[in-house]
């Protein structure tokens, strides 16, 4: 399987080339185009495992209830994935490790990756910004998307990322919901409110822009329904 990112970072699409019999799983609605010999199965879970409970958890995480599995039958084929918002994508190879992904950033994963509800789910509900996490585990490739460009931050110590700007982070990092700077008042008045503080060593991938901030800026110009 080959995953190629096209037109980075402004209007990125992911082209996945599959050998006969290979499968890739994506979030529903992500397919833009594909070759004619693709078999699509829609399920509530990862192929051959999981079940309704996992799907319900995923829905809680702001993801679709369904996942699509694309399998090339007979001969090689390709499928192209895209997203609703303009932005960058990244491919991350996992080897028996786990990556915590902000749910809206998940696009696709290869067959041997398990897609679960993140363990930090409940900590983030209290942040009031409804950030949900998916836990991607196993060996294979993961494709993530962002609103804006993606930049990695290698954390060694403490680092703060505004909640709307997180794409994914390594499981070796701990995070707490806290304030920016020393004072709650200043963090709030400075427009940052609650932020995520990462501690330990590992990498966090950030998106340069926040779709929530853009939405807030645009909303006053939209008519009430």
């Amino acid at each position: 399987m080959q995953i190629e990112l096209l037109h980075q970072p402004g209007n990125t699409a992911a082209r996945v080339t599959l050998a006969p019999g290979e499968t890739i799983t994506s979030e529903s609605g992500a397919m833009i185009a594909m070759s004619g010999n693709m078999d699509i199965t829609t399920s509530t879970h990862k192929k051959k495992s999981g079940g309704l409970l996992k799907a319900a958890k995923r829905m809680l995480a702001g993801e679709s209830f369904f996942l699509n599995h694309f399998e090339s039958s007979g001969q090689a084929g390709e499928v192209i994935f895209g997203t609703g918002l303009a932005g960058d994508m990244m491919v991350r190879e996992l080897e028996q490790e786990s990556l915590i992904v902000q749910s809206r950033s998940f696009l696709a994963a290869t067959d041997d990756i398990d897609i679960g509800f993140g363990w930090q789910g409940f900590a983030s509900i209290f942040s009031g910004e409804s950030v949900f996490w998916l836990n991607l585990k196993g060996s294979g490739s993961v494709v993530l998307t962002s609103f804006g460009a993606i930049y990695p931050v290698v954390v060694d110590g403490d680092y703060i990322v505004d909640t709307g700007h997180i794409v994914a982070f390594e499981e070796t990092l701990d995070f707490t919901i806290t304030k920016a700077g020393k004072s709650w008042l200043h963090s709030y008045l400075g427009g940052e409110g609650l932020v995520c503080k990462f501690s330990g060593t590992g990498t966090v991938w950030c998106q340069s822009h926040s779709s929530a901030d853009f939405g807030q800026r645009l909303a006053p110009s939209l008519k009430n329904r």
């Binding site: 960058d88 460009a149 200043h186 940052e192 800026r217 110009s221």
Partner: protein
């Protein structure tokens, strides 16, 4: 202080590295990530009344954030605007620079942000009743929705409303119909802003009003 604008013109963001004792001022909510050792102090954007005016009539935030590195090592932070688009840095040497509402992102300590009456004309043109005037010495970062088009004018030039981002002090605004009455009303251009004088103007390739106008009929 070291700064760099990254992320291409489509998604520009500002990477800042602060040395010991250095600080940078940024609009409220503009920080996307930072070293946890950096101190954040929020303060009113000018005096109380001026901050209120800037917020409600100048399109800026009520508070600005002051990020300071009080440690002995360099610390990094990342700043960004809410809309996707280009960010530029203006090196100020006392000559002044006019910003349209919402364009301000960040500045170094030596830059002052003042407020000037822009006139009713500007308000009707949806460019805001007040304009932000930056003065002093240092770096000023401002942003646009979409890409920026720079134009050196000498005399008159016409810009569609809500597309003007910034202009040099030698330039003044006037408002008028784009063409005759018919083409103004039916040609989709409506009111335009006439800029007059000598100096540089910055125009943005897109406008939020344009996006909203396209989205609204779809709901």
């Amino acid at each position: 202080m070291q700064t760099a604008i990254k992320g291409s013109k489509a998604f520009s963001y500002i990477e800042v590295s602060l040395e010991q004792g250095e600080s940078i001022v940024c609009e409220a909510g503009g920080m996307s990530s930072m070293d946890a050792a950096i101190d954040l102090t929020a303060r009113l954007n000018g005096g109380f009344l001026r901050a209120l005016i800037k917020r409600y009539l100048g399109g800026e935030t009520l508070f600005v954030s002051n990020f300071t590195n009080n440690t002995s090592q360099p610390r990094t932070l990342t700043l960004v605007q809410s809309v996707p688009g280009e960010i530029r840095c203006q090196k100020m040497q006392g000559e002044g620079f006019n910003l349209q509402p919402g364009a301000f992102i960040a500045c170094t300590a030596g830059v002052k942000l003042g407020l000037r009456w822009a006139g009713l004309v500007s308000f009707i043109a949806r460019e805001g009743l007040f304009k932000l005037v930056a003065s002093g010495d240092g770096n000023l970062w401002y942003g646009a929705y979409g890409a920026m088009i720079e134009k050196e004018i000498d005399g008159e030039y016409i810009v569609d409303t809500a597309h003007l981002v910034a202009f040099e002090p030698g330039v003044k605004l006037k408002l008028q119909l784009a063409g005759g009455l018919f083409s103004s009303l039916f040609g989709g251009e409506g009111l335009v802003t006439r800029v007059e004088g000598k100096g540089k103007i910055i125009v943005q390739s897109r406008s939020l009003a344009g996006l909203a106008g396209w989205l609204n009929p779809k709901f």
